[in-house]
């Protein structure tokens, strides 16, 4: 029997992160950060000082010990108030922390994990290219000397602007074999071009070009004596990435819902608060039900991940549902706000812009649907 009740430690984490959001992320601050579109470094440093960035990193590497559920709680709560910050956070704990703690060689763990836990080292995932699966990879890693030379272009890499290192998926040699490499961000031959996006300002997308970038052989993820094949590693990385996106999407849905609910309780039209109209009640009730469903899916995936079992299908379902409900809550929320929702002075428009990104973040809902179908034997 699954237990979705938070235990006392998880409750403490939830309270701590809620306090952080209340204290560090008042409306004005978030609005300003969204407007500037800068990496929220200050807030992330504060989160790391509280230990939140170490929630997927073993204590031996300066982390807090691995706790996937707690990391989800933090990502969800952050996304309620400031989705882009949650995305940066999820990148640290899931996209790089959990990934390297699980798949990295001992050298890679010592090299990256302590910095990630301190919020000083950022690793961006440079995985997919034109397509949503590894079949579309054209970036190549060719042997040269005691290493490989990587050449290719990775479009729309999240946090590509601030990344100190990239985890790059490439084809090796002339075969169709794939490999993942930890590439130093300062290596000669890397150029980064930032791309403007609709939302999630702060978790910026960058087109990264690797022009004959040399890395040593040991930079292969997991080291020379790695246990997993690259496709297996990729699946694991993407599952962690999707779990982070699912938790964010859930938080965004709750954030948008909360704004809509409070507006419905305060806005008076036709001599009563609009929340008294059953049409508005129905909208909010539907959202509440769907958010609860998404929450079960996200935390179910987190619980399965915590056991060390494969959680590919669970996390795919969670991400699809959470992304959909995030978009729905933001658009319905805007409708509840009416004309005010359309004004940049109100926050609901930011959820509309941010939530739309969850549909295609990580792996698109469309491709995840195909994955689930495959897992059903179709």
């Amino acid at each position: 029997m699954m237990d979705f009740e938070l235990n006392s430690e998880e409750k403490l984490i939830q309270k701590a992160i809620r306090d952080f959001v209340t204290k560090e992320l008042p409306q004005g601050v978030v609005r300003e950060l969204d407007g500037m579109g800068q990496f929220p470094e200050k807030q992330l440093t504060a989160l790391s000082k509280l230990g939140f960035l170490g929630l997927t990193i073993p204590e031996a590497f300066d982390g807090e010990g691995v706790n996937i559920v707690e990391a989800c709680i933090v990502a969800e709560e952050l996304a309620m108030g400031y989705p882009a910050l949650a995305a940066c956070y999820a990148n640290a704990v899931f996209g790089s922390g959990a990934v390297l703690a699980t798949l990295g060689s001992e050298d890679q763990k010592s090299r990256f994990l302590p910095g990630i836990a301190r919020g000083e080292l950022w690793v961006a995932l440079a995985l997919l290219e034109a397509d949503d699966d590894a079949g579309g990879i054209e970036t190549r890693a060719a042997p040269e000397g005691a290493g490989v030379v990587i050449s290719g272009e990775k479009p729309l890499v999240a946090l590509g602007d601030v990344a100190d290192a990239f985890l790059v998926l490439a084809r090796t040699g002339k075969t169709d074999d794939l490999a993942l490499y930890c590439v130093d961000g300062n290596a000669p031959g890397i150029t980064r071009n930032r791309v403007d996006t609709l939302g999630m300002h702060g978790e910026n997308l960058v087109n990264v070009v690797f022009d004959r970038v040399w890395v040593e052989s040991q930079a292969i993820l997991g080291g020379m004596d790695r246990q997993m094949t690259a496709p297996e590693q990729l699946e694991m990385i993407q599952n962690y990435q999707l779990l982070g996106i699912g938790a964010q999407a859930l938080g965004m849905a709750r954030g948008a819902f909360g704004l809509a609910l409070s507006h419905a309780k305060n806005r008076v039209q036709f001599d009563q608060v609009i929340g008294k109209f059953t049409a508005i009640q129905e909208k909010l009730t539907d959202l509440l039900c769907d958010i609860a469903a998404a929450k079960f899916l996200v935390y179910n995936a987190a619980l399965v991940a915590s056991t060390g079992k494969k959680f590919t299908r669970e996390v795919a379902m969670a991400k699809i549902k959470a992304a959909r409900i995030a978009v729905q809550a933001s658009m319905d929320g805007l409708q509840v706000f009416g004309g005010y929702g359309y004004s940049m002075e109100y926050d609901i428009q930011r959820y509309v812009r941010d939530a739309a990104g969850t549909l295609s973040a990580g792996i698109s809902n469309e491709s995840l649907g195909l994955k689930i179908a495959k897992s059903m034997g179709l």
Partner: protein
């Protein structure tokens, strides 16, 4: 039943399409959206090319078109840069249409020629902070002073309010909810009138403003329709609603049609490069379903327009049209964001602009909830 478009209507569609292609290519549309400034340049060109006469009676030198001509124009213009539809409203709807439906002859003679040649812009000031869906709740008041009236109060979400020459201003002139509203033609140069643009999610460049009236004096002649129309403002507005709903529906249709076009192009390209056969069936079906809804919306919209033209009772039909077209537009653009993938999230992709534009069409001109109120009430509920 024959509801084909007339040759003149087809020609208007071609002419509008050609104008948009030449003057508003996608890169210009993107630039204008990014800058968010009122598109005076394009408005001047529309005036020069005679578009401001499409719904002006022939006796004033116009083309004498009606609701169908307006819808054709608004649909075509919304396909590229939706905000142009709103700025065009500052001439075609709030100027030409309001004056011809509710103005008296003197007002028509005074303003229509200038509206047609691009000299005048009109805005329509009804909504207030506490009077949105509940529009009859307005409290901006006009009090009798020295044989005229003095207006005090504020309005919000008034499009074109800082660039317009005349603000058609709806005021409280008696306590009766519906029979205590008077509409004035307010010269915006007058002292005491100020308008401040609001930053918005979409429809950037519409100059949608908060408007303040502080002791703005107007004369009897400024009452829309003349002195006899004192306290008749609500009734006057009701006459505009069928047209407004249909024009907004046409905007939603234009947006939907363009997004569908983007999706077809995008999916075709992906299909070409795809290694997996049949992978796109689900996506193709999603697009097909939306195309069916858009076509249904078009049929409903032009059927309702035909009823308006025949002077048939059609409040239920126009409300259904507005509800259906706006909600369909939301569904289409949302599918668009999903199908376009990561690319759709970048500002280089036009689908995100349409996704930002569309929500207001389910809010302005009566929210979808208000349309449902009207429809269900007319069904006896």
């Amino acid at each position: 039943m024959d509801r084909r478009f007339s040759r003149d209507q087809e020609k208007l569609r071609e002419r509008t399409r050609a104008f948009v292609q030449k003057e508003v290519p996608p890169e210009i549309a993107r630039k204008l959206d990014g800058e968010g400034a009122y598109p005076h340049g394009i408005m001047a060109k529309l005036a020069d090319q005679g578009f401001w006469g499409i719904n002006v009676a022939e006796k004033y030198g116009g083309l004498g078109g009606g609701i169908i001509e307006l819808m054709i124009f608004f649909e075509e213009i919304s396909k590229t840069l939706p905000v142009l539809a709103w700025t065009s409203g500052n001439v075609l709807l709030y100027g030409n249409n309001i004056l011809q439906v509710n103005g008296n002859e003197a007002q028509q003679k005074r303003f229509l020629p200038g509206l047609m040649n691009g000299e005048y812009l009109f805005c329509f000031a009804l909504t207030e902070p506490d009077a949105g869906s509940d529009a009859a709740n307005i409290i901006t008041r006009a009090e009798p002073v020295n044989g005229g009236y003095r207006i005090n109060g504020s309005k919000v979400f008034i499009s074109g309010a800082s660039v317009s020459h005349i603000a058609v201003t709806n005021t409280r002139t008696a306590s009766s909810r519906y029979k205590g509203i008077t509409s004035f033609l307010v010269d915006t140069d007058q002292e005491g009138y100020t308008a401040a643009p609001i930053r918005k999610l979409g429809y950037k460049g519409s100059d949608t403003c908060e408007v303040y009236y502080k002791d703005v004096d107007v004369s009897q002649e400024n009452i829309l329709g003349g002195e006899d129309c004192y306290n008749q403002g609500w009734k006057q507005m009701m006459r505009l609603l069928n047209g407004e709903r249909l024009v907004l529906s046409a905007c939603a249709l234009g947006i939907s049609e363009t997004v569908l076009k983007h999706l077809v192009t995008h999916v075709k390209e992906r299909q070409k490069s795809s290694r997996i056969q049949g992978k796109y069936q689900a996506v193709a079906h999603g697009i097909a379903e939306m195309a069916a809804r858009v076509e249904a919306g078009r049929q409903l919209a032009f059927q309702s327009a035909w009823m308006v033209d025949q002077e048939m009772e059609c409040v239920k039909e126009t409300s259904m049209t507005k509800l259906f077209c706006a909600e369909t537009g939301k569904a289409v653009t949302r599918l668009g964001m999903e199908v376009m993938g990561r690319l759709g999230y970048t500002m280089e992709c036009d689908v995100q602009r349409f996704y930002r534009d569309i929500p207001i069409l389910a809010i302005g001109g009566g929210t979808s909830q208000i349309q449902k109120n009207i429809i269900s009430k007319l069904m006896g509920l």
